[in-house]
């Protein structure tokens, strides 16, 4: 399947606001090539006016002065193609991207579900048309032939004949090889295929020979489907589209029930759950939730889905309704039936993991953290904050020495905040007083220095730090440091790095 207008349609459908008040104005998507702005794609209106791709923008504007231009964003186009590919998952699990503007669907064994090949094609075309996307498609015995036939129109009594009539450009070789083939008088694939392939390979490169063999169905083409088959997936189709999100969620709950029953037989629990709502117009709404521990708890998973929906910036838009809802469990892990402790120990632990899951789903997994120690000298690098959903790291916290007061602050400023020592500082100690956040602190007690040198093996040599624990007259305890020794740096600066309890 080939989308001849993919970049312009993408822009029109995802950035509708751009075209709100200048509908019908021709536009093009431009790409910067060697310093000149060239057209990468043009819309139908511009094409009708004779604008073609690869023109420079200046030439095109000379012909059609009101031509609008937008920047080429390959990444957005790719994402859009992936969304379209997701929408095609309703026809077959084997959907491959044919970047930048095509999809290959392996419909072997799937056509009877739609009443035959022709009906399936009609359904695809109609669905994309409703969305506002023009498609060209072709069916063939092998993916390369189908791809070539979709892009380069050709007719023939049989598939083989049609393929043979295709121009050599349909081989998809690089420009040099294509021109060379044309110069040699080989205009169609049929011309090339009748020659000895060893000769073709010798003269035009092995790629040319391989491609011909593939397109004629003599060699296998590697297929890399976009989706690996999910370990478990349950779905429900509707004769009448479902337009209410609440009802769709009820159905999702029932699907979750079915999936959990299967998981229980397999002694597994899901770690990630993916719900997909297929809209009648071909778009797909995806929601996915994760749990910290493998889970078979339907209520807990549905609560997570509700949290996820609540957290969406714009609510799920059913459009004209959903006609297929699918729940996939891409990640599942072993989970044996748990025996409940009499005093409720397991229950309490499970409650905690559920709480972490819920908060992580609502706020994002990086907002709920656990601390892990790290063997580093610099205080700000001495610990990591990991998402709490991930399994707890190995416990290597050091235990403080008996009878020592706390040597590390409980709040750390990252980056450290500069302080103003106010009066001159004795060279071997901390300032007698300093100003921080517009308050003057008079130091009553000091301990230090604790010298912490940055790792010398890193290329950028940072100055050594001398840390002091200080207490001011009101009893506030701070951790301050001087950045740089006096012989290292002309005028070392002072910072506050943390506060003690």
């Amino acid at each position: 399947m080939f989308f001849p207008w993919l970049p312009v349609e993408r822009l029109r459908l995802t950035r509708g606001h751009l075209f709100a008040d200048n509908a019908g104005v021709p536009f093009a998507i431009v790409e910067k090539v060697k310093g000149a702005l060239r057209l990468y794609a043009v819309d139908q209106e511009a094409a009708r006016l004779g604008i073609e791709r690869d023109m420079t923008l200046a030439d095109a504007r000379a012909r059609v002065p009101r031509l609008d231009a937008y920047e080429y964003t390959p990444h957005d186009d790719h994402l859009w193609l992936e969304r379209l590919a997701d929408g095609c998952a309703r026809y077959t699990p084997w959907v491959m991207l044919d970047a930048p503007d095509g999809l290959v669907l392996d419909v072997t064994g799937c056509t009877h579900l739609f009443g035959g090949e022709a009906q399936l094609c009609d359904d695809v075309t109609a669905r994309f048309e409703r969305l506002g996307v023009v498609t060209r498609h072709a069916l063939a015995a092998n993916p390369d032939a189908a791809r070539a036939l979709a892009r380069y129109h050709s007719v023939g009594a049989s598939e083989d004949e049609a393929v043979r009539r295709l121009p050599v450009a349909a081989l998809g070789l690089d420009e040099e090889a294509t021109t060379a083939l044309k110069r040699a008088g080989l205009k169609t694939i049929g011309d090339v295929a009748t020659r000895q392939l060893s000769a073709i390979a010798a003269r035009f490169g092995t790629d040319a020979a391989t491609q011909v063999r593939r397109i004629m169905g003599e060699a296998d083409s590697p297929l890399t489907p976009r989706l690996v088959r999910q370990p478990l997936s349950v779905e429900r189709r509707f004769a009448e589209p479902v337009a209410k999100t609440a009802f769709a969620l009820t159905i999702l709950g029932e699907l979750a029930g079915e999936a959990m029953a299967v998981l229980e037989q397999r002694h597994e629990g899901g770690r990630r759950f993916e719900a997909r709502f297929f809209r009648t117009d071909g778009l797909v709404q995806r929601l996915s939730v994760e749990t910290g521990q493998p889970s078979r708890d339907i209520d807990a998973v549905m609560r997570l889905f509700r949290e996820r929906i609540d957290a969406l910036s714009d609510p799920i838009d059913p459009g004209f309704g959903f006609d297929l809802i699918r729940l996939g469990i891409p990640v599942a892990e072993r989970l044996d039936a748990a025996q409940l402790k009499l005093e409720g120990g397991t229950v309490a632990e499970a409650e905690l993991t559920q709480l972490i899951d819920r908060l992580s789903t609502r706020l994002g997994r990086n907002r709920v953290r656990r601390f892990a120690p790290r063997d580093r000298h610099l205080p700000e690098q001495a610990e990591l904050m990991l998402p709490a959903m991930e399994p707890a790291p190995a416990d290597t916290w050091s235990t403080p020495e008996q009878g020592e007061p706390p040597l590390r602050p409980i709040h750390l400023f990252d980056p450290p905040q500069p302080i103003d020592p106010v009066v001159s500082v004795p060279p071997d100690g901390p300032p007698r007083q300093f100003r921080w956040r517009r308050t003057l602190h008079e130091i009553a007690r000091v301990e230090g220095p604790e010298r912490i040198a940055p790792p010398w093996w890193t290329s950028r040599q940072a100055p050594t730090r001398d840390y002091y624990r200080v207490e001011d007259r009101r009893g506030r305890r701070f951790w301050i440091f001087r950045r740089g020794l006096y012989d290292e740096i002309e005028k070392p600066e002072w910072f506050i790095h943390g506060v003690f309890a």
Binding site: E351, R369, F371, T399, P405, R408, G475, R477, A501
Partner: protein
């Protein structure tokens, strides 16, 4: 007036029943370890309730967090502690530093940090977390005067805490006293520590010390002040071992 006190206690029981509080025995309590405070509170602070800790000044942030973490340690020494705070709090008071919390006895692996975008999210998360019996304690850190944190919000937190048995510590930095249903309300400020001898005249900063004031208490008189010191090895509050060095501050009468 024996009969009026009997009818008063009947009335109290009726009100308590309406409020859904267990009448017999009262809530379980946890002691602070400081004998005078525990005696004053009748055995310690109530578990499964909401307690407020206030600090007047942003420079007391360390004492506020430290005191709360120490109370949480008194509640459950080795159960998960969930600490909820906003990003604004992190900017104002600094990041929580697990190595430093470890130095007052809180095990780094027991701490879970929830970082929220705003006060509304903070309260929502706090309400969910207070229902989770798997937690040892819940610390909710708020700075300034969030409009949302009113009587209703604290009542909701209190009900959740009573249902699950999780003790909730609500930290209020730079806030004025506002109506709340909290069981107790404390004000905490840093106090000069008992200096450790290190050969100098002043000595080195010692163990964490605070001036705490019981501002309000639901079930009895309040208005007392104590100076306490934290003992990490015994995981307990105690009166300062030695008086602070003379001449620096006026000593506060230890209660």
């Amino acid at each position: 007036m024996p009969e009026s006190s009997a009818s008063l206690s009947r009335l109290r029981r009726r009100v308590a029943r309406i409020e859904g509080v267990r009448v017999s025995g009262g809530p379980a309590r946890f002691a602070t370890g400081h004998a005078a405070i525990d005696a004053w509170l009748g055995g310690g602070l109530a578990r499964g309730r909401l307690h407020e800790v206030m600090a007047d000044d942003s420079e007391d942030a360390g004492s506020l967090s430290g005191f709360a973490a120490m109370l949480a340690l008194r509640i459950h020494a080795r159960k998960p502690l969930l600490w909820l705070r906003t990003e604004a709090a992190e900017r104002r008071a600094g990041k929580l530093y697990a190595s430093g919390l470890g130095e007052i006895g809180l095990h780094g692996g027991d701490l879970i940090l929830g970082l929220l975008g705003d006060d509304a999210a903070l309260l929502k998360a706090a309400n969910d977390a207070a229902r989770c019996a798997g937690l040892g304690a819940l610390i909710v850190e708020s700075w300034g005067e969030p409009r949302l944190l009113d009587l209703t919000a604290t009542r909701r937190l209190m009900l959740a805490a009573e249902a699950s048995g999780v003790t909730v510590l609500l930290l209020r930095g730079e806030a004025h006293e506002s109506p709340s249903v909290a069981d107790t309300r404390w004000r905490v400020a840093s106090a000069p520590s008992a200096a450790l001898a290190d050969g100098t005249a002043q000595g080195a900063p010692g163990h964490p010390a605070f001036d705490i004031e019981l501002l309000r208490r639901r079930a009895g008189p309040a208005g007392r002040q104590w100076r306490v010191e934290w003992n990490r090895e015994q995981c307990s509050f105690q009166p300062p071992e030695r008086p602070a060095l003379p001449g620096l501050v006026l000593p506060v009468a230890a209660g």
